[in-house]
């Protein structure tokens, strides 16, 4: 499969260079991916800047219509599904669910915005002090958005595109080398449905190619907003700081200094179980949060359990893990429930779990390796609140459970092990939701008796997308 960039709706590759991207899991599955250079980048910048004028003529209703039209056209054929499965390793049934999610969120995003704010004269706004004569209009920021997306979830590129359309913005998206097909297909669908072609541009290049070191900085300097997925260190190294040598001195340039930055750095979702809970419901939430898309940022990794029937909960989770493990097979088969995982991660995590077990610091309740790329879900129990299994994001089928003496201790430990950076989600399994609000929890998203993987479309990791991507303009009248 050979790809180009998608610039202003046109497949282009001015650099003429591609690099090979082979599936980690299917040795014979090879794609050739664009290795863009400065020419591709500058053209995309020019297009994105040009789009801004054209976009100002589209009303919110126009844009909603575009997304509705696009939602009717989105589908994934067998090639699309094969590409996603073979590049990501997740089971085809899970990939199909993500496609269904994409079809849902495309109109949900603008509908939620319309519900939360007021749409007036084609613009997003809200009344100030409930005064009909004082209106806050939220104008999109003046400039394009540069978005850098990861390759672990096919929903991410569609999600950011739907946001661009909802707010009437232009963007350049540097997609993962594993995520060309569906991202370009969605972009073409949105353009075919009426969004200006120059407003969504998809680029890709080999970030390990030293000749491409400056490409990110060129785009960032020309943009207004940076929307980056990845941990802070990676984002800062690749996108933010440039080290320039001059006259024997090294200068550090901060390319984010005058930008609006939206980060998606967090993960390590956790569950806290209250003392008396419905353990069947709790088991369902724990297992589905941990296993349905374990490589996603909201996948459950740690459970702090203060429930009085701890052993029962543990057995029920183990039993469900057992049941799922009967469906370990080639992810291309529709019955498969456990897919493939990066071999280095499987090797590292299982080795570490066994070492900790030998040291008496953890017990492996469930999980064994089937091949270097496949293992049944790993369930560990630890008494050590400082265990890395409670505080680290491991991208495989895994969850770790820590028994806590009380609900308060569970809250204390989930916070302490959250480290300096907040967890993305803590789901509290408690039948007293009002009490949850009284607790201070070290996470961006707090859920009560909900799966950690449920997406909050308007917010993520402290970012309120509408507020972050717009600037208020106050209108007063008689």
């Amino acid at each position: 499969m050979v790809f180009n960039n998608l610039i202003s709706g046109k497949e282009l590759l001015l650099s003429g260079e591609r690099f090979d991207v082979r599936s980690k899991f299917y040795d014979d599955y090879l794609t050739k991916v664009p290795n863009s250079n400065v020419f591709d980048i500058k053209m995309a910048i020019s297009k994105a800047k040009t789009a801004i004028t054209e976009l100002s003529e589209l009303t919110f209703e126009d844009r909603l219509d575009i997304l509705k039209k696009a939602s009717r056209k989105i589908f994934a054929n067998s090639n699309d599904l094969e590409y996603a499965v073979k590049m990501i390793g997740m089971p085809i049934s899970s990939v199909e669910e993500k496609i269904t999610d994409i079809k849902k969120i495309i109109t949900t995003v603008p509908e939620f915005v319309a519900k939360r704010f007021q749409i007036t004269h084609g613009k997003i706004g809200s009344l100030v002090f409930n005064d009909p004569n004082m209106l806050e209009i939220l104008e999109p920021l003046d400039g394009f958005v540069y978005i850098v997306t990861p390759g672990n979830d096919i929903r991410i590129v569609p999600f950011v595109i739907f946001w661009l359309v909802t707010l009437g913005m232009a963007g350049i998206i540097k997609v993962s080398k594993n995520d060309l097909l569906i991202s370009q297909k969605i972009t073409k669908t949105v353009i075919d449905s009426g969004y200006p072609a120059s407003a969504v541009n998809i680029l890709c290049w080999d970030t390990s190619d030293e000749r491409r070191d400056r490409l990110n900085f060129d785009i960032i300097d020309a943009s207004k907003v940076i929307w980056a997925y990845g941990d802070d260190n990676t984002v800062d190294n690749l996108l933010r700081f440039e080290h320039v040598q001059n006259n024997g001195f090294t200068y550090k340039i901060d390319h984010f200094s005058d930008k609006v930055v939206i980060r998606h750095a967090s993960g390590r979702a956790a569950v806290v179980c209250d003392t008396n809970i419905d353990i069947e419901k709790a088991t369902d939430i724990i297992v589905s949060s941990a296993l349905e898309w374990p490589i996603g940022c909201a996948a459950l990794k740690a459970v702090f359990d203060s429930n009085s029937k701890h052993e029962d909960l543990l057995n029920m989770v183990k039993e469900k893990f057992d049941r799922v493990s009967k469906y370990i097979d080639d992810p291309m088969k529709s019955s498969t429930k456990i897919g493939y995982i990066d071999p280095t991660i499987i090797s590292h995590v299982f080795q570490r779990a066994r070492t900790l077990e030998k040291l008496g610091q953890a017990e492996i309740i469930h999980g064994e390796t089937y091949s270097d790329i496949q293992a049944s879900p790993l369930l560990t129990v630890t008494k050590d609140k400082n265990s890395e299994f409670l505080s680290t994001e491991f991208s495989l089928y895994i969850t770790s459970i820590k028994k806590c003496e009380s609900y308060d201790e569970a809250i204390k430990e989930v916070n302490e092990t959250g480290t300096r950076n907040k967890r993305l989600v803590i789901s509290i399994l408690s039948h007293h939701p009002a009490d949850v609000l009284k607790k201070n929890l070290n996470a961006h998203h707090i859920k009560v008796f909900r799966k950690t993987t449920e997406v909050d479309l308007l917010f993520h990791e402290g970012n309120d997308y509408v507020r972050k991507l717009t600037l208020p303009q106050i209108h007063r009248s008689f």
């Binding site: 202003s8 046109k10 282009l12 590759l13 001015l14 650099s15 003429g16 250079n37 400065v38 020419f39 500058k42 053209m43 910048i45 020019s46 297009k47 040009t50 120059s198 000749r211 020309a222």
Partner: protein, 407 residues
């Protein structure tokens, strides 16, 4: 006797050129012994490139004989002593083989401790023939090695070269009524010649003002509906160093206004460097004509593209032009610099044919090229060789050991 080959005239739509036919006839009866007596418009005739190799050589050898004598007499420091020492004179050059005995004038050479550049640095006027009575303009070379070589030109010389560039434009499909925006530095000879050629063609010429940014250039293209963009684009790895003309190149124009380039410009004339793949892909993707030409401050033009659809002469494949310079690609063989064969690489050497100002006789500025075809192998109708892979020799003194003229 030189003969315009009628069969080729139809391919490129080269019209029958009665003036040129008369010129050939008159030339062979001795009317144009002094190259400066040839009217400049003759050098703009496309019939030159339809002549066969032998006919061209017959004319050129006579012009070269005259120029060797004049160079020896009027530029004594550059040519006089060496030619005298070797007992060389125009009279002794009756064939191309005789011409190959003339030593090269090597720009970068420091052979026997004598440096052409050093001499020029000491006194640039050694390159102004001492019989020139009219005013001259000085166009300096890029000066990449620290000393820019001056070329002195009279109004007549500018007419000759401007007319030849006009011919290149015609080969490229640039025509009367076109509006040409040029970002090329007007103080460079290339920039000046593009202006002269555009004027002769009947096109509107808009120079970029020296301080105009890329955005301002884009606005001008938009406002004036410029359909021809003449600009530069160097190799990407060299970054801003290659933006001849003060910071505007094709890449910066793409960033400033890709949509304007797409909408308004239908012909790109990009010079100064080998066309890079990105620009070629750009032109192909947006269905634009893309052409280039080879020239330098010392000799312009030397080679050109055409817009003939089935010709080999596209992008970096250029037809050598028959005048106003004699362009050769040479290699060292048995102690002499002789033309390379098809497929071989050699050094580019040129000799002035028609000029009142600075005369270059077998001058090697350090450029190299590969010969792609022999004469008559391109379907476009131009009968000259095609050259490509034009670049700089890193150490030309290692390539050339056949002598240096400085005396």
């Amino acid at each position: 006797m030189g003969r315009v080959e009628e069969k080729r005239e139809t391919i490129m739509n080269i019209p029958s050129d009665e003036k040129f036919k008369s010129f050939i006839e008159e030339f062979h009866i001795g009317k144009y012994n002094n190259p400066s007596s040839i009217p400049p418009e003759i050098w703009g005739s496309k019939a030159w490139e339809t002549l066969n190799k032998k006919s061209v050589e017959e004319i050129f050898i006579q012009l070269i004989r005259f120029n060797i004598e004049r160079a020896k007499r009027t530029m004594p420091i550059v040519y006089g002593k060496v030619y005298d020492d070797k007992d060389l004179s125009g009279d002794k050059v009756n064939t191309l083989e005789d011409f190959w005995d003339i030593p090269l004038l090597v720009k970068d050479a420091t052979i026997n401790g004598i440096s052409f550049r050093e001499k020029v640095k000491e006194n640039p006027f050694i390159l102004l023939p001492n019989d020139v009575k009219s005013g001259t303009y000085v166009y300096k070379s890029g000066g990449t090695k620290g000393v820019a070589t001056p070329t002195f030109l009279t109004n007549f010389d500018i007419e000759v070269e401007g007319t030849s560039v006009k011919k290149c434009f015609e080969y490229m499909g640039i025509k009367q009524g076109d509006t040409i925006l040029s970002t090329y530095n007007p103080t460079h000879k290339g920039g000046e010649m593009i202006k002269v050629a555009a004027n002769k063609l009947g096109a509107t010429f808009i120079p970029r003002r020296m301080n105009d940014t890329s955005e301002e250039v884009i606005n001008t293209i938009n406002m004036y509906n410029a359909n021809v963009l003449s600009t530069v684009q160097g190799p990407l790895e060299e970054g801003d160093k290659t933006k001849k003309g003060g910071g505007v190149d094709f890449l910066s124009l793409v960033e400033a206004g890709q949509h304007v380039l797409e909408e308004k410009v239908d012909k790109l004339f990009i010079t100064g460097y080998k066309l890079i793949p990105e620009v070629i892909t750009w032109a192909e993707s947006f269905n634009k004509s893309l052409t280039t030409a080879l020239g330098s401050s010392e000799a312009l033009p030397q080679a050109t593209n055409t817009n003939f659809p089935d010709g080999l002469c596209k992008f970096n494949f250029l037809h050598i032009l028959n005048g106003p310079h004699f362009v050769e690609v040479l290699k060292l063989e048995s102690g002499a610099m002789v033309p390379v064969k098809k497929g071989e690489e050699g050094i580019l050497v040129y000799t002035t044919l028609a000029r009142e100002g600075t005369l270059y006789i077998r001058y090697s500025p350090g450029d190299i090229a590969k010969v792609i075809t022999n004469e008559g192998e391109c379907k476009c109708g131009l009968n000259t060789k095609i050259i490509s892979d034009i670049g700089r020799a890193d150490t030309p003194q290692d390539v050339i050991t056949a002598g240096c003229c400085i005396g």
